[in-house]
Amino acid sequence: MSEQMNDTLGVKRQPPPHFSFSEPYWEATREGRLVIQYCRKSGQYQFYPRPVSVFTGSRDLEWREVSGRGVVFTYTVANMARPPFAGHTPFLVAAITLDEGVNVIGNLINCPLDKAAIGMRVRKTWAPLPDGTNLLMFEPDE
């Protein structure tokens, strides 16, 4: 029998603090768009947002919208959690390799435990935050 996982959609989260150089990411989430930094010089994306390109040290970075589709790189089950996540366990947290070639951490929702697998295709989904921004999550891409 498949173990049903909880999700964390009901967790009462405060909006996370933003670094100045990650503001464009959060602003785009208000419209449900996923944007990540792109280094023009090396032709590579990077995540999480940095003040410089981790490839060249240059500040010549642009924000590009990406599809939010990718595969599960690895995952774990949160069997225990402190507030505000206490009472919401077990839930799945995964690292997703986006098709653009970066790893991103997010909750994996709408996915029973026996379905979760490394290599599984996933797509982005959003969980609203109280300040109007959205938190990135993933679900099976079927």
Binding site: T74, F85, I105, N107, M137
Partner: protein
Amino acid sequence: MALRDNAIIGFAETKIEARAGRHVWELGGEVLESLIASTGTEKAEIDGMLINASISGAGNCFWSQTTAEFLGLELDFCQTVDIGGSSAVGAVARAAAALDAGLCTTILLLNIDTQATDQATLNMRSFHDEWQYPQGLLGGPADFGLLSRRYDHLYGLDVEALGKLAVTQRNHALLNDNACEKLRKPITVEDYLNSRMIADPIRLLDCVMTCDGGNGLLMTTRKRAKEKGLDNFAVPLGYGERTNYRANENLTDITETGHCIAGQKAFAQAGLKPQDMGSYQPYDDFLIAVMIKLEMLGFAKRGQGAAFIKEHNLAHDGDLPINTGGGQISAGQPGLAGGGVNLIEGVRQVFGKGGARQVKNREYALVTGIGGLRYVRNWNTSTALILGAEG
């Protein structure tokens, strides 16, 4: 002057306690007093100090100088080492560099933390608050859950081998009077396998328990140690360190760590091989870190760490004694002084002061450090230190 021209002339350690109920500097005082007594050193001879950035001291931007003030130390060199669980091992190389450069002549290496008593949480100005905690990925066990699942995918995760490691380290803690009393109870492989899941596949008995404690070393030049008439000390023979391994690559293998670089460097500098080590004292926040480092440091091929664990006797009287004091997993993790637990045990074995758990071959010991956890990576800083016996 070189790394090996320096000497560790004394070691000290408080008992590790689930909750000490004492101020962190009281533990520092206990370590200082013990080092002065065991090495026949006058306090006034100590003219240098390195201290770990502790969780209980977090927020004090004057941490090293304030600690020196409270301990009554007048110094020519004073510095906090802030590479997390790598700080204790990293301090040995930094102390040697300071001695080589003539910045000081006798240096205290102090590691203290009372994270449990202070109920202090790690104050990290990092990516966690923005990119990790909102997702419910709440700390070390979850990070190691991600790492372990990936290892399982690539090589298969042999939990029986991890269970053997858990039992071996626990048996060592039973022989260690400084180990946390709460942890000094025998366990079996079944106990390990049946311990509850924290962050599947990480079980409770994969993890360290947060404790209070302190430890330290006293170092000087080898020349000065001999002039003092000391005839038993430990010499740092090889050292390697790597922070943010493959920092400028996106999709790295998270089961490969900076220890492959740090280990190569340490062995090359020492002119030794893994097979020469009389004991191995790896930093153990989680059991799988011990196994992965066997692969990174050249004891076993990639993916063969579990086979190595099963094929070898890892007890103090075995062919490769591992974490002979119980490691942090079975002796307790005194916050960010935790790296000193593995380091002090390595020094103790090289001194031949292991008592009931003394290893047969005290000539060389390998100690490692792990500092900080990264975003979909393994850890920030990897350190490896080879110690040799002299006298």
